[in-house]
Subunit: 153 residues, 2 copies
Amino acid sequence: MSTSRTDPLTLEVVDLIGTVVARYHEEYEEAAARYRLTGAQARVLGLLAMEPTAMRRIARQLKCEPSNVTGIIDRLEARGLVERRPDPADRRVKIAAATEEGHRTARGLRDALHFAREPLAELSPQERRTLRDLLRRMLGDVRVVPGDVQADA
Amino acid sequence: MSTSRTDPLTLEVVDLIGTVVARYHEEYEEAAARYRLTGAQARVLGLLAMEPTAMRRIARQLKCEPSNVTGIIDRLEARGLVERRPDPADRRVKIAAATEEGHRTARGLRDALHFAREPLAELSPQERRTLRDLLRRMLGDVRVVPGDVQADA
DNA sequence: TATTGTTATACTCTATAACTATA
DNA sequence: TATAGTTATAGAGTATAACAATA
């Protein structure tokens, strides 16, 4: 399989994707830094701005150990961006939720992500559709949309 | 500028790119872990497998402070994957280079990166060309190819 | 017993500042 | 004096193991 590994065209596309990945991260870290957040903190805040989430579930979404989430939430909570709430249904679980200020920060963070807009603005709607379709096929198309549905675990 | 920010098509493309970025990183970390390397170590080893490089330059390419490179190279050197050589031209600089085993590891690492091949294999040559052109335009086309030419500093 | 979140510990990456040896 | 690499230090993310509270 994959006779294409050394094919120049494939290599160039791979290289371009690498560039996209690199630029995406630069911009993400930059935007986070503007709010004095680390990448991990910004990522978690973004999650919580979508939906209050139990610690365990945050760990799954971050693909890290639950013990790490404690510290990240601690730091966000110390800055008033997040709060821990008890789960009425199960007294073992704690649900982390963005505060009002947390939501404001998450909004600002999202707006600061130039990458999401500027480069794509170069492309016409038709071209964006083409890009979308190619990316979909590249990713196998089996994209579970938002909620993540704990397809992990 | 950017009236497209809330346009569903653009949002979907942005989301797809986010998925590409996430998958790319997962695979990278996974491949590195298979060789008991951290992401940073794998990245540096990859660099050095291309070309022996002075400490300062490694820092620029990693976009981190030079002091951090010392530790990363220390750990790679302790495992026999990298060695430090003096620069005949300037006795202040040290040049890090991959050892034979370092080159072998870098090769294995590269081969382990399925992402580079599998997903692209789904696309026909014509589609890959289209994807290449779209990505090029998206990235502004001003891509300085490999060598990095210390376009930073 | 099993699970949730936490604590304790250790390692790596990161930035900052001060140091050394060259230049 | 300026630069290359290092050391020292501190903060953050990470994994592992052990623990309390709850299920």
